[in-house]
């Protein structure tokens, strides 16, 4: 069978399974998730053996240590994968939730009921735990899942998939509800992206290049964020010590992720008190600073000049752009103009100012007095996440169980016809 026919077969099987899967009870789904968790732990020697093949190939390719870290399976992170499945089993099942009841004057009773989306395609890169996290969220929400991981993790993903499927075979969940595309040919992704009649949504997880490739090559709705250009604005009403702690956390705790800060905005009224020591502290932590003229005037030396392009750049690295602004309005305008509508914070003790920031910044997650690093399905209490959306339609921010559902209108009549 050629690749095109193979992917079509997988998608058709998933679509067919999705119809009966939508009717499986929460109890049965939760039992399956717990059994999957147990099976991963039980088979950890097998998982580590298969993972070693990926690690060997990676060392041959000379991949970075960060990538090899993300790729590695060990008893600790296999346990974490299992725990995540157990956590997901404990969350409320979104399917069947009654969202609204409408009674019409003609006697029609209309129920708006939450239902699974149907078939969810997830395209991701090197981390093998995504295979079980996403399988767990999709299965809990009654969706058939088509998973396509990165070729670096192919042996690990196949091993995880094999274990999860062996559990599924003993449950009432249709076996075809979980699919893994095992081909490492890039063409396999192209073939999947063509199937807009069979796949309801695609979630690309990975770098901007992968996400742009997926969005540009499919008619299937894509849930995505291209970039995380996150801001912290230090108001003249800020507790400057709190501001300093939050700036350090948002920039340096994990600079390579989408919810890390890329631009610091500071009210001119506190810039002289705040910025010089803040910048020294950041530089001591290895952070390069790119400042506007006002910042450079306040800090003697060591600050590179920020260009217009810096305000639009997601560094994903220990680099920070810094701008001095004339108060709240300019901060909001800067964020709405240059940001990526992901996560932005204000540091202030003034409640009215805080609310104005929350109301006017057009981002998925807006913070008062907290680090932008909390934008994450687990941190929000959603168990895990299939991705983060900076789009405004369907789902915004971390996407988990609720984002994996749609709804339908069930209309109960007694012979009503339209006049």
């Amino acid at each position: 069978m050629n690749l095109s026919a193979h992917i079509l077969k997988i998608a058709k099987a998933a679509r067919k399974a999705s119809y009966t899967f939508a009717l499986v009870s929460s109890k049965e789904k939760n039992a399956a998730l717990k059994a999957m968790a147990a099976a991963l732990v039980k088979n950890q020697a097998y998982l580590i053996k298969e993972n070693a093949k990926d690690l060997k190939a990676a060392s041959g390719e000379g991949y970075s240590k960060a990538l090899v870290d993300r790729l590695t399976l060990n008893p600790k992170n296999i346990k974490a994968m299992a725990d995540s499945l157990v956590e997901t089993s404990k969350l409320k099942d979104p399917v069947g939730e009654l969202l609204e009841t409408i009674k019409r004057p003609n006697g029609l009773l209309i129920k708006k009921v939450r239902v699974p989306l149907g078939v969810v395609g997830i395209i991701y890169e090197s981390r093998p735990n995504v295979t079980s996290d996403c399988a767990g969220l999709c299965l809990k929400s009654g969706n058939a899942a088509i998973l396509k991981g990165g070729k670096e993790a192919i042996h690990s993903n196949k091993a995880i998939f094999k274990i999860l499927k062996s559990v599924l075979a003993k449950t009432k969940i249709p076996l075809d509800a979980l699919q893994l595309i095992e081909s490492t040919d890039r063409q396999a992704v192209h073939e999947l992206l063509k199937l807009d009649q069979l796949v309801d949504v695609i979630v690309p997880r990975g770098g901007e290049e992968l996400i742009r490739f997926v969005a540009a090559n499919t008619k299937i709705p894509v849930v995505k964020h291209f970039q995380g250009i996150c801001h912290v604005y230090v108001s003249k009403n800020a507790d400057l010590e709190m501001a300093s702690d939050i700036v350090i956390n948002a920039k340096t705790q994990k600079p390579g992720v989408c919810n890390a800060m890329e631009t610091l905005l500071v009210d001119r009224k506190v810039a002289r008190d705040f910025l010089p020591s803040m910048i020294v502290d950041l530089q001591a932590r290895g952070c390069e600073i790119r400042g506007d003229e006002a910042t450079r005037a306040l800090v003697k030396g060591g600050v590179n000049k920020a260009t217009e392009q810096d305000w639009r750049t997601e560094y994903l690295d220990l680099i920070l752009s810094v701008k001095v602004v004339d108060g709240l309005t300019e901060a909001i305008e800067h964020i709405n103009t240059y940001g990526s509508h992901h996560s932005d914070a204000i540091i202030t003790k003034n409640k009215k100012e805080a609310q104005a920031f929350l109301d006017s910044v057009d981002s998925a997650c807006v913070y008062v007095n907290a680090s932008t690093r909390f934008t994450d399905g687990f941190e929000f209490g959603f168990g895990s996440e299939v991705g983060i959306s900076t789009d405004k339609l369907h789902v915004r921010g971390p996407m988990a169980l609720e984002g994996l559902t749609s709804y339908k209108y069930e209309v109960y009549g007694s012979g009503q016809i339209r006049g």
Copy 2:
């Protein structure tokens, strides 16, 4: 200014207005809608005068009577436009609704709050009332609207727009929140569809050709339905008299609309009792019947042969395809295979069977013992609608105020950083 720059200017102005508009209170929005309603009625002589130019042009083009009917403004339908604005003013404002409150162990308080989408583009055909209906729904939900009507209605649309804008000028709603593209050049639509950085969603209202054109030519999310291939399934447990009334209503009351029935499915066990007289009745009402072999065997003569293509056809006319099926499972499979996921009904007295149909038919609106013709924003109690979606993401079924919103997460901290 060339067309491209002109459309860009309109979209930029709408985007800018959307930021301040999101903060306008319900009271101010409702007062504006009521003032608009009053202004339409007060200026009806002007509206009718401008509409006459469109009617004159239409008669020159030799348009059909149906199109001329849709295009005509008179005191009665001007009053209906005004009433619709007043009705919309009375609906609950979705903006600011607190959808969820999450308290995290670290003390973070997360509020999920409903917000406007931002900038909504609506592309429609000949009916001028869409201009005021959609303006009303967008303004009530805090969205800037960019309206692009058909060239047949250009004078009417400009006149309605002029009246609505003259009212807006006296309110706190930013004037640029309501935009009409006055160019009748098809290229104007192309230019609008390019602006995915400025427009949050496009709703095409019109025939399948328009909708396919829009969906194929933009990166902006499109809320749409291509077709309405709606089914009525008459179960062996049906009240056959009720079934007959619903079949006649769903097929003949207004055959040219998307929620009219196109295919009738009948359980083999009642086909002999039900179909012969049903078909005679439909034929007496001018309806052409295209049946499968079993149907043609039951009804002597007068029934054309249905082909595979008939099951996939939206006739939008007095034509009905008819199929005899072996019970509920085959009916569900037929609908999920050939339907358009719009509106489908079962006629049955058996509650368990009814629920199985509602659960398993993968459509936006599923009915028990009622006509499919009720799928409509007004009939569902939403005041009006900007469109109907058969997609599963964001909005499904009639799209009105709620469908015109997104949400954001407001996160309240006291210095939390991530460990």
